[in-house]
């Protein structure tokens, strides 16, 4: 019971202190809106193409929302030593980091539904397979958050967290099949796509929204799950190695 009180309060504190702040809420609204508009205008097609763009915009919204927030907040707390306060408390590191990442995961999931709500006004979403869609959203949010954790532990300054995040994020936009099918990429780039977690999340989203998946949901979600476990384990290993000297 004691550990869950700690878990819930860490999560609630992060939500209140970081995620529910007006600048972050506006980021969560404006960012997906800008991406949707940009790709919609660029495609030059009609409203019917919105559904093919939706998976990519959803995935990007989650990726940028979670990695930005977590990498910055954890780096900031490490820098001002408030993270130490939690390391001194009798909470297992695994539970502590799940609590810290929980807020970012929820923020990512909320971000994902901003473009969905927007698209609901201009396109018919009745054909969307919501179970697969929600599963993909949650898994992408978890994987992206754990990627953010990995980045946060690897750097020591807040600005480094942003720069290092972009090192991972921008290639993902173009290599993960969000807006261009992986098959259309140059052959030498295609293997890179398959070592990025977003590829599998985006595939499920394409399948859920317009039956455009290239792999089965089970394979996609299993690989995404493996990425989640691997990134979380790498983050914890790095914390133990670098922060608990």
């Amino acid at each position: 019971m004691r550990r869950w009180i700690a878990f819930w309060n860490i999560l609630a504190k992060d939500m209140r202190a970081y995620y529910l702040k007006p600048p972050n809420i506006s980021w969560g609204l404006i960012f997906p809106l800008a991406w949707t508009g940009m790709f919609f205008i660029k495609s030059g097609s009609g409203l019917e193409s919105v559904l093919t763009l939706l998976p990519g915009v959803v995935a990007i919204s989650i990726l940028f929302g979670t990695t930005s927030m977590l990498a910055v907040t954890v780096t900031f707390e490490k820098k001002n030593r408030s993270f130490e306060r939690m390391l001194l408390a009798p909470i297992q590191l695994e539970l502590l980091m799940l609590a810290k990442t929980g807020g970012a995961i929820l923020f990512g999931v909320a971000n994902a539904f901003v473009p969905v709500v927007m698209v609901a006004f201009i396109a018919d979403l009745s054909q969307v397979a919501w179970c697969a869609f929600i599963a993909a959203v949650v898994m992408i949010a978890v994987a992206s958050t754990f990627l953010g954790l990995f980045i946060a532990v690897a750097v020591s300054e807040v600005f480094e967290a942003q720069t290092f995040s972009n090192f991972f994020r921008f290639p993902m936009i173009f290599l993960c099949g969000l807006f261009f099918p992986i098959e259309k990429l140059p052959v030498f780039l295609q293997p890179l796509s398959y070592v990025m977690p977003l590829t599998y999340g985006a595939d499920v989203l394409h399948g859920a929204v317009h039956a455009g998946n290239s792999m089965s949901y089970v394979i996609d979600l299993s690989i995404l799950g493996a990425f989640c476990i691997g990134l979380f384990a790498a983050g914890l290993w790095n914390i133990k190695r670098k922060w608990i000297l």
């Binding site: 009180i5 309060n9 030593r81 408030s82 306060r85 001194l88 408390a89 909470i91 000297l245």
Partner: protein, 331 residues
């Protein structure tokens, strides 16, 4: 205040036992074979210059660093490899405030209490009590980031004891804060000690350690060079006799004159016009004054000095206390 977690009874029961503790960072040995015990309900001082290994030792005891060798037992729990097991027993006040600048004072305390699994009503009551104790009620709803240095320090101490730990680690609790806040903190620590809390204190203020601590360990270059009660540490030096003479003038030629006339006395020229005279026997000041007047030097003041823990520290470590303090404040 009552401690939630009880330690075994007995005045001399060690609650912290450290044996052969070592910590290396690459080629640098920060802590080398450190062994000591802290007894239940005592204030144990840990004194040393910057880089001596004080904070590294505290970090190992509290679970923020892993020792390369040695054992740590806190409250009878072996926490060498499993520091989490003893973290319910300890409170930690680091040398720099580590609370959340974006939260209010009250929110910070409630959050810290929640980290120890305290229920909502209990943590709010405890937070209010501590805000009252430290005179921070008026600032309870203000963001911690806007607090003065003294207020930040007091709230950090309050956060360290919010779960009523029977053992408290305090790293430099009064460094760099105003006199009134320092006095309030010292008074609070004395009160806390009376309730039975064991306190592990590091400080650069040797006078503070002398006033508060039951026993003191001196650590230099990662090694403990002396551990004893304040009375026993000071005893040998108190048997010596020290006088401070203020003179109208003093130069090297005067030193020659004095040492040849009084070979049983040790003379140290402290600054222009001041000489420290030391002896194992009581010092008869009249012949000294006569000789100085014969040399044309007027003695404006002659003062008997009571040797303090600071003198013991300087003698053992070879480091002047004011140098150590300046280094710390610069850092």
């Amino acid at each position: 205040m009552q401690n939630n977690v009880k330690l075994s009874e007995g005045a001399v029961v060690p609650v912290i036992e450290v044996a052969e503790l070592c910590k290396r960072f690459g080629d640098v040995t920060a802590v080398a074979n450190v062994s000591f015990e802290v007894r239940r309900s005592e204030i144990f001082g840990f004194l040393g210059p910057n880089g001596a290994g004080k904070t590294t030792t505290i970090n190992m005891l509290t679970g923020l660093a892993r020792p390369n060798a040695g054992t740590i037992r806190i409250g009878g729990i072996d926490c060498t490899d499993h520091p989490k097991a003893a973290q319910y027993l300890i409170g930690v006040v680091p040398d720099e405030s580590n609370l959340y600048p974006e939260l209010t004072g009250f929110e910070n305390l409630c959050f810290c209490a929640a980290l120890y699994g305290m229920g909502k009503a209990e943590r709010q009551a405890q937070a209010r009590e501590l805000l009252d104790t430290f005179g921070l009620v008026q600032a309870a709803e203000r963001r911690f980031g806007g607090y003065s240095k003294g207020m930040k320090r007091k709230l950090t101490i309050a956060a360290g004891i919010i779960h009523n730990p029977p053992i408290l680690f305090l790293d430099e609790p009064t460094t760099g804060i105003d006199v009134a806040s320092s006095r309030q903190i010292r008074q609070f620590l004395a009160d806390l000690h009376r309730t039975g809390t064991t306190i592990f204190l590091t400080t650069h203020y040797i006078e503070e350690a002398e006033r508060l601590c039951n026993r003191i360990a001196f650590i230099v270059a990662g090694r403990i060079v002396r551990i004893d009660t304040v009375a026993k540490l000071v005893q040998p030096i108190q048997e010596e006799h020290v006088m401070l003479l203020s003179l109208s003038a003093a130069g090297p030629e005067l030193y020659e004159e004095l040492t040849s006339a009084f070979p049983q006395l040790d003379f140290t020229f402290i600054s222009d016009g001041q000489i420290c005279v030391e002896s194992s026997e009581p010092i008869n000041v009249s012949p000294l004054v006569r000789l100085l007047e014969d040399c044309g030097v007027e003695v404006t003041e002659a003062r008997k000095i009571r040797p303090s823990l600071e003198d013991v520290f300087v003698r053992i470590t070879g480091i002047e206390a004011d140098v150590m303090l300046k280094e710390k404040e610069k850092a």
